[in-house]
Symmetry: C3
Subunit: 466 residues, 3 copies
Amino acid sequence: MLSEDRLFPSDAKVRSRARDLYNSVKDLPIISPHGHTDPKWFAQNNAFANPAELFVTPDHYVFRMLHSQGIPLEALGVPRADGGAVEQNPRKIWRQFADNYFLFRGTPSRIWIDHALQFTFGVTERLSSKTADTIYDQISDQLSQDAFLPRALFDTFNIEAIATTESAIDDLRWHQMIRDSGWEGNVITAYRPDAVIDPHFEGFADNVAKMGEMSGEDTTTWSGYLTAHRNRRAFFKSNGATSTDHGHPTARTEDLPQQTAAALFEKALHGKCNAEEADCFRGHMLTEMARMSIDDGLVMQLHPGSFRNHSSDIFAQFGRDKGYDIPTRTDYVTALHPLLNAVGERSDLTIIMFTLDETAFARELAPLAGVYPALRLGPPWWFHDSFEGMMRFRETATETAGFYNTVGFNDDTRAFCSIPARHDVARRVDCSFLANLVETGRLNGDEAAELAHDLAYRLAKEAYRL
Amino acid sequence: MLSEDRLFPSDAKVRSRARDLYNSVKDLPIISPHGHTDPKWFAQNNAFANPAELFVTPDHYVFRMLHSQGIPLEALGVPRADGGAVEQNPRKIWRQFADNYFLFRGTPSRIWIDHALQFTFGVTERLSSKTADTIYDQISDQLSQDAFLPRALFDTFNIEAIATTESAIDDLRWHQMIRDSGWEGNVITAYRPDAVIDPHFEGFADNVAKMGEMSGEDTTTWSGYLTAHRNRRAFFKSNGATSTDHGHPTARTEDLPQQTAAALFEKALHGKCNAEEADCFRGHMLTEMARMSIDDGLVMQLHPGSFRNHSSDIFAQFGRDKGYDIPTRTDYVTALHPLLNAVGERSDLTIIMFTLDETAFARELAPLAGVYPALRLGPPWWFHDSFEGMMRFRETATETAGFYNTVGFNDDTRAFCSIPARHDVARRVDCSFLANLVETGRLNGDEAAELAHDLAYRLAKEAYRL
Amino acid sequence: MLSEDRLFPSDAKVRSRARDLYNSVKDLPIISPHGHTDPKWFAQNNAFANPAELFVTPDHYVFRMLHSQGIPLEALGVPRADGGAVEQNPRKIWRQFADNYFLFRGTPSRIWIDHALQFTFGVTERLSSKTADTIYDQISDQLSQDAFLPRALFDTFNIEAIATTESAIDDLRWHQMIRDSGWEGNVITAYRPDAVIDPHFEGFADNVAKMGEMSGEDTTTWSGYLTAHRNRRAFFKSNGATSTDHGHPTARTEDLPQQTAAALFEKALHGKCNAEEADCFRGHMLTEMARMSIDDGLVMQLHPGSFRNHSSDIFAQFGRDKGYDIPTRTDYVTALHPLLNAVGERSDLTIIMFTLDETAFARELAPLAGVYPALRLGPPWWFHDSFEGMMRFRETATETAGFYNTVGFNDDTRAFCSIPARHDVARRVDCSFLANLVETGRLNGDEAAELAHDLAYRLAKEAYRL
């Protein structure tokens, strides 16, 4: 189904150079330093249940597109918050998907899914109403085989290291089970403290109390709260974490006097922060997290700018992560000023910035990453993790930030089978970009070869200290 | 003058595929579901007066560019608001245009005008000071011939359906005359209620009173006002309307309690709304209009984000629509939240969003249209209705919204002779985009062929319920 | 080192056309109407001291990139504000640069430096740790030769005219020395009054007093202050100035009643303007400057939108212009409204707008420049003075503003040896853009040839009245 030369430039000379570069990196192991796969898969190593569970129900890219054309989420088996009835028959869900597979024309989901169907499951025909059942049966058969269990796929996918993301108050039981199992797959965690940092997160005070319990610290005081963070970070590190991750509505940072921060924390614990105070507290905690990163060496990732749960009805009926998180215009220059003034000059600290607002690359993020030693640019994120998105990223960021203030690729996915596809797309795009630089006299061939390897493998490994 | 392969990619293989796709759609009838042609042309079917009246005086793209280089609008025959003297000699106006035709190099106007000159009027030489008179004479002669009357051109242009845009308080006399005439050209209206929705529109209260009169409703009350809208919409529907159109300064929407809305309406009628209240009322009325659309099936178009009449002097001297409407940065995620929460989940409603802020496509509009069943993306609008603008639209919107959350092309023009040219450009750009997807392994050939037809014809027809 | 076909499109036919166009303009003299070279160089005509002083220490593009990877500015010989110790050995600085030259892969600095090394100094090998010393020695030798003195390089570079930029209270002694010397190089100044216009500029009141002294006017009064500006502008004109230049944090303009302006000025003199009042005063002064430009014919340049000295530590330790000026999102439509309403319709005035926010080109600046007679678009500025930046500029501005509302190229540099490289890049990009227009049927060959010349030479000369 897929062309061997997919995503390479159409000009024959540039294409040939892109292909050569790609061939030199396509078999490199996958470094997946940030994502949302479920550690339980690797801990229990149970078979995936059926094709719909693998490709449709958990993939918000997939069900949001189907829904945009009027298909109710219930018909796709997406569970309701109230436990109400949704489609239970995976074959029916799969048929809905197959019938509407044309909707994905021109989208990255199409490439990812075709890739998984072809290279993981050996499917040879395009998914459609006509082929739906045959493909369903073929995948179903395979899922029960040993070669398709999570750990086997992990090996097949040639994953050298993968990070999952857990809440600061997660007990990391699956990670500990993986470690105890003797399996050698390198699955690590990452510290995501939004639930204990955002005063407006559901159950904030309870979450903080739980963090106190888990860390044996008195989190009713500001200093106890900070120590509890340090403890939890250490615990995450002992489960392999090399990074933290922060998903705030804006990129706002603050560097408040400790007394002011303590007073805000007190308010937050009592549920008394207004919107501005909550934003201010979140912003200050980023600077606290950065200071802890200088101490414990955890790389810091910021993922700001998503308006979460845009549809109140869908949120009420189905909960979070249902495709209704929408990017917003995001300021970085003013927002990051306090953080960068506090710690931006540290070259022993790494802060990786992501954005859902691509206009910030050329204007703000590349100029900032191109001068502050602590700052690096994360790869195109979420809706921009696509051919055009990646190409625009290189075109808008490279001239000011260079390549070496970027950190390779993140797949950032919960769709396990899409991982090889996503890294493959990233490698193809980067090799195409590099080939074009060479053919237009902006780079030499030997430099492009070195860069192809750096972008596919080395930069991610180094930036994330893996 | 025009190359047969214009606007196709330069790579031979991609060009050849683009050409094949284009050849399969170039003769499809034109669906023009939104625009500003004058229904009087088709009602009276009088000859256009002269080349200047056809190409210069009414075309704000043309006279704004000439003016930007210092040519007074008076010299181009643009009528003054005070009836003051302006150039009356169409040949002199035409010569000014021809002398400065080089200014249009690299602009869409150049392609549209060359297209009209070559294919509608058979002109074979480039317009310039040297050819000005010959071309003037040639067009003048033709305009008096039957084959160049509005209805004949309508047929020549292969227009299957065209929508004009009329104010809610227009009596639609020309549309009725067209219907009464027995001519079979499908010219329909669209409901544009800005004059009776925007508290700061000139003569708002009078306009609302007139709407009351025309509809036989008491528009001094909030409920009478809403009913009057329903009546007028029904009247527009009986004149073929399948859509409404809303041109607000921002994309703000509101979903107020009825009592609050009624109180604002009361204030508006008495000219007492401040800027914020006027904006709020406009925003709320969009949600009311959407609710009526669910009832009567009219497709809703939003055209926000233009700073109208930027030059006070030009506005005072020449009035509206003189090239001084400037796009502004426009937020959609927050602005559309109330509307989409009220009606966005309805799959029996179609809201078509336009933007003058292209940065919103990848960041906001494609993510929104890619999940809300009611939302569709209109084609590139106004300054962005161009080769580069259309290409950027496909490159930034497709990966997240797909093709099927878009609605084909709108020419949105009052320049009648530019209609075939504009649709031709859109078809060429879309076929080039599709050819590139195929040649870079992102789409199969049979899918591209189907999409070429969808984008040129089917999607517009279906989205606008024509 | 450099490919002869660098920056040309890869498609053979388009490349060949781009090359032909480029060959027709590559030897045209350089018009450098805006920049920051030091007039002292041309006045004294002393040899440049060493390669580090020429390529590293004064070039913020270079040291910011090195610093972003953790190299202290001290190690690069950047002088500290407190006179503290920094690296004094130019060879060591050069080696740091050479060791890390790979960081510049894909950046414009790489092309500029390679160009200077190859074409000015005859270097034949790529700069690296291995070649660092040889290249250092080679350049060192040359710098002491007559052919490499500033005036000789001026001739070698084929500069027809170059403008420097001086503060309104500069005595222009170097310019006068150049004039007195009898040397025929055309080095002119430009009037930059930020220090006497921005109430928050260091030493504002003293600066204004000094301007009073220099002009013999009583600058304690509003009218005396305005007259002093007129006098200084006349003095700058007598030193060749044809332009003024204004670098404000935002693009805000105002057109206040004279009494209000006078009151603000009074406040400013006494250091009593708050942020809003300072911004308002700066904004108003742009309109005053524009009115003076109508009288004295100086072309007005606006360079808004940089957040200066983002790192407080670096500012405290090293002062201004250390690579920490970061672009910000910038509004133009509302901001320029007062100015354009006051003087925008004048076709005897030229206002050249620059931006660090590229998203404004298609949305705001091209539509504004495409209608207001007084407004022109400056070339891509600062971080956007690059292959991709220039290409995006043409792609986003041309369709609405055309070519003739743009003003050719500015190198805007203090790196003297980069001037030929920068103009060469601009000519290559423009010829590539034009070649692509021709090969995709959007322009005729004869028009492209004329435009290539216009963009490389004529437009800059005419717009800046040189």
